[in-house]
């Protein structure tokens, strides 16, 4: 009897573990969503009304599309013919997706969704972030990307060509599954930056090209605004300072036709203790490992290192200039100040602190001539 009571007590204690067990669907019954795309479509009828601007804001509908794998072609997922698409519209992303569930032949399963493609108009967080964070199905490892223009154009492809979904996946994870590259900003990373002090979060910007899709820059979230950053060097500065652990494989072109492939790197932003905001002088200590990829001029290692250093200084300068101009600290300098000089931060938090700060770069480059 005592054993029975112990058993019942154990079972009662284990009952909370069953939470969520109703959200099930057998593998054979589910449809695999590989990408979710969100865009804004304007209601043309209302646009013609008198108060055009306000009507446009109020009448915008959210279009959500899920890009599903054909079951019998799932393993050849690099081609466009492996995917099909279901689209629905609604007042919100949740409403649109609710309609998608209705039109979907079987259960939509987002557990292996890897991409969240945001149209240029849908990129502001008000349209998608709340749903992405609350959805029990979207994983925090999903990669949000912002596309230039309309999503429809970006994802359109002939059946026999490489799928844009596949290409976007490759862009996010060039080293293979679960190894994000410099452009692989996961939802988790984005949200951490979004709620972090002193940094403007950024998402990769992608565009349609003749070969499919390619990275076009950055979508920087500065408060309620989004700035599309297409300057190559500014993007490189973001990659070097914010995405340093993911530099592997990135190729940098230098003067004299020299090119190096980065193997890895570390960044440490050093801040000497100061009492006044004007005395702040962050020093970025960048350690890089790189292979010389192309050296037509036959420069020695020392010369290539000097070229690379010069290029890195230039990149940082452009990045900082862009950051100042946009007044969006996408390089995260403010975050370092907030972390390392917390008594200074309240003095500058509400100001355009980037204008008054000079950032130095110290590099330590390990070059492999082979």
């Amino acid at each position: 009897m005592k054993n029975l009571r112990v058993l019942v007590a154990w079972c009662c204690m284990l009952l909370p573990l069953l939470a969520g067990c109703d959200l099930t669907g057998d593998l054979k019954d589910v449809e695999m969503v590989r990408a979710l795309s969100v865009d804004i479509i304007d209601n043309v009828d209302i646009l013609d009304s008198a108060d055009k601007v306000e009507a446009q804001e109020n009448s915008s509908m959210i279009s959500a599309a899920v890009h599903l794998l054909h079951r019998d072609r799932a393993l050849e997922g690099q081609y466009a013919e492996s995917y099909y698409q279901l689209t629905a519209e609604g007042d919100s992303l949740a409403a649109a997706l609710g309609q998608l569930y209705d039109v979907g032949a079987k259960q939509l399963n987002f557990s292996h969704t890897s991409l969240l493609v945001l149209g240029e108009q849908a990129a502001p967080t008000e349209f998608w972030l709340d749903y992405a964070l609350r959805s029990p199905q979207l994983r925090p490892t999903v990669y949000p990307v912002v596309c230039v223009g309309q999503i429809e154009a970006l994802l359109a492809a002939d059946e026999q060509t490489l799928s844009p979904i596949y290409l976007l996946n490759n862009l996010s994870e060039p080293m293979g599954s679960s190894y994000p590259g410099v452009f692989g900003v996961s939802l988790q990373d984005f949200v951490e930056d979004f709620y972090q002090t002193g940094i403007a979060p950024a998402l990769p910007l992608v565009e349609k090209t003749a070969d499919g899709v390619a990275a076009a820059g950055l979508a920087v979230y500065a408060g309620d605004k989004i700035a599309l950053l297409t300057d190559d060097d500014a993007v490189l500065a973001w990659q070097l300072l914010v995405r340093t652990p993911y530099l592997y494989g990135m190729v940098l072109a230098l003067d004299d036709g020299v090119a190096v492939r980065l193997q890895g790197g570390q960044i440490f932003i050093r801040l000497q203790p100061v009492d006044r905001a004007e005395d702040l002088r962050p020093v970025c200590e960048l350690e890089l490992q790189a292979d010389i990829l192309n050296n037509p001029a036959g420069l020695d290692t020392q010369q290539v290192r000097a070229l690379l250093n010069e290029r890195l200084q230039q990149i940082l300068a452009v990045g900082m200039a862009k950051s100042r101009r946009l007044q969006a600290d996408f390089l995260g300098i403010g975050r370092e100040i907030w972390r390392k000089q917390p008594h200074i931060w309240p003095q500058i938090a509400e100001q355009d602190y980037l204008s008054g700060i000079t950032v130095d770069l110290q590099t330590e480059i390990e070059l492999n001539a082979d």
Binding site: L14, D26, L27, K28, R71, S114
Partner: protein
């Protein structure tokens, strides 16, 4: 309720009446041979045995011939004196009642009755056909003794005695089964085995009241601690070296006439993962193989259930490429993961049962048909997906890696399949907790089943999931042994390891 035992009928002084008593006792037995011996001036005698069970040549040579040739005066002595002085048989005993006398004859002994004596002699001249000592089919080893127990109790006892040449090796004989009168032997090493365990084993054996003991499995189920547990709490083996090793660790063994399977107790959970060969091979390989056995057992219990839980509840746990493979295969079948695994596991069990019971050539054919044809055709026909076949087939193989726990693994596998089907990982967790609770509560003859893990006995972990070198296994299991704990000099490195070559240089 005790089984009814008829009152004993004692032998009389009259030979003819005694023969009548015996005939009445056994009824119409066509195979009972009664050879009367009558000599001038000597009391008549009768040699009695069952045809086919007693060595006739030995009866003629060692009993009848001496009786006919010895001096008449000798035959007028008491039967015990005649057996000692005239007959040429080493092993004999006397009985004063019909039941004991006939029981010995049923065992293949040869009986001898004299007129004027209210007692009978019986001689161990068994001559029935018996299987020779051969390699056990269930415990084949690459390295180690090829001898296996046979169906003859005396032979089995000798196999143990040949390995443990110590006066402390004790055999206690008893008979069980009111109809079968099966000879049972309780074996242990005095001074190593726990007296409490010996007494408990003796008590449990003597408490058995049943009409027949046809195999040691009867005894196992009648004396085990937890009859409702899927886990065995009494081990069995066909290998004399294995049983000898267990006796040397302080366990007791029960040998049963008529079966090559010898029971040993107390049993520990870890014992199921040990093989005789582990102790003959080098420790690294032995440890690795033992660890593999453990992993195989875990897979045999959890494999199909994990598949169901992942496919029905936790798809996100699979790497995408693997998921796509399974997803694609699953989409072509009408059954869900739960039904597929349950159905194919049942098919496998049917095929296995058929393969075991049928004659060997047919059984092999059934296995091939079951394993290859049904599996392949079921996949081709779209009834089940290929991953299910792989999972169930590999589970079946893994299940046989730990032979002693095959039955438990089969039962648990289906239990976990149902739990995973119902609750996913929650079910698996629930089942695992209940299983662990059950395991740590199990005892075998008073010894904790999960030792040396629960209770933790650090020294004995050296011979658990891994096996340390012999020279580091100096102590006998302290939860099994009393008295002499040390089986060798304490942690003495191998003799050859002390720079022997360096001294020469």
């Amino acid at each position: 309720m005790a089984l009814h035992k008829p009152p004993k009928t004692y032998l009389l002084n009259n030979l003819e009446k005694n023969i009548s008593l015996l005939q009445n006792y056994v009824g119409d037995y066509g195979d009972m041979v009664i050879r009367r011996i009558e000599r001038e001036g000597c009391p008549p005698a009768a040699v009695i045995y069952f045809d086919g069970m007693t060595d006739k040549d030995a009866v003629s040579e060692f009993i009848i011939k001496p009786l006919l040739r010895c001096a008449a005066d000798n035959l007028r002595q008491q039967p015990e004196d005649i057996a000692a002085g005239c007959l040429l048989v080493a092993d004999w005993q006397s009985a004063d009642n019909v039941q004991d006398f006939m029981d010995s004859l049923f065992s293949g002994n040869c009986g001898l009755l004299f007129d004027g004596t209210a007692a009978g002699l019986f001689f161990d001249l068994k001559g029935f056909e018996r299987r020779g000592i051969a390699e056990p089919q269930t415990e084949i080893v690459v390295r180690g003794s090829r001898e296996g127990f046979i169906e003859n109790l005396k032979t089995n006892m000798s196999l143990l005695r040949r390995r443990i040449k110590t006066p402390n090796l004790c055999f206690e004989n008893m008979k069980l089964g009111t109809e079968t009168n099966t000879n049972i032997c309780l074996a242990y090493i005095r001074g190593l085995a726990d007296p409490d365990v010996i007494a408990e084993a003796r008590r449990r054996l003597q408490a058995i009241e049943i009409d027949s003991i046809l195999e040691s499995g009867y005894i196992e189920q009648l004396v085990e601690d937890e009859p409702w547990s899927p886990f065995p709490t009494i081990a069995n083996s066909e290998k004399p070296d294995k049983v000898a090793a267990k006796l040397l660790e302080g366990r007791v063994a029960v040998l049963v006439d008529g079966t090559p399977f010898v029971l040993t107790a107390p049993m520990l959970f870890m014992e199921s993962f040990q093989s005789a060969e582990d102790y003959y091979a080098r420790p690294f390989m032995a440890s690795m193989v033992r660890f593999l056995r453990f992993i195989s057992f875990i897979f045999a219990v959890y494999g199909p259930a994990l598949y169901i839980a992942v496919c029905s509840f936790h798809i996100e746990l699979l790497p995408t490429n693997l998921m796509l493979n399974i997803w694609q295969s699953a989409g072509e079948t009408p059954l869900s993961a739960g039904w597929s695994v349950f159905f194919y596991s049942l098919v496998y069990e049917v095929v296995r049962e058929a393969g075991i019971r049928l004659p060997r050539p047919v059984g092999a054919a059934i296995s091939i048909v079951g394993g290859l044809v049904i599996g392949d055709m079921a996949v081709s026909a779209g009834l089940i997906s290929a991953p299910v076949v792989i999972i169930v087939a590999f589970t079946a193989i893994a299940m046989f890696v730990v032979d002693a726990l095959t039955d438990a693994a089969t039962v648990l596998r289906f239990g976990f399949i149902l739990l995973a089907w119902w609750l996913g990982f929650g079910g698996l967790l629930l089942g695992t907790l209940l299983l662990l609770l059950h395991l740590v509560n199990l005892k075998s003859f008073g010894v904790a089943y999960m030792a040396p893990f629960a209770p933790l006995i650090p020294y004995q972990l050296r011979d658990s999931l891994v096996r340390f070198p012999w020279w580091l296994l100096g102590r006998r299991p302290q939860n099994l042994t009393v008295g002499s704990f040390w089986r060798q000099k304490a942690e003495q490195p191998p003799v050859g390891s002390n720079n022997w070559g360096a001294d020469k240089e």
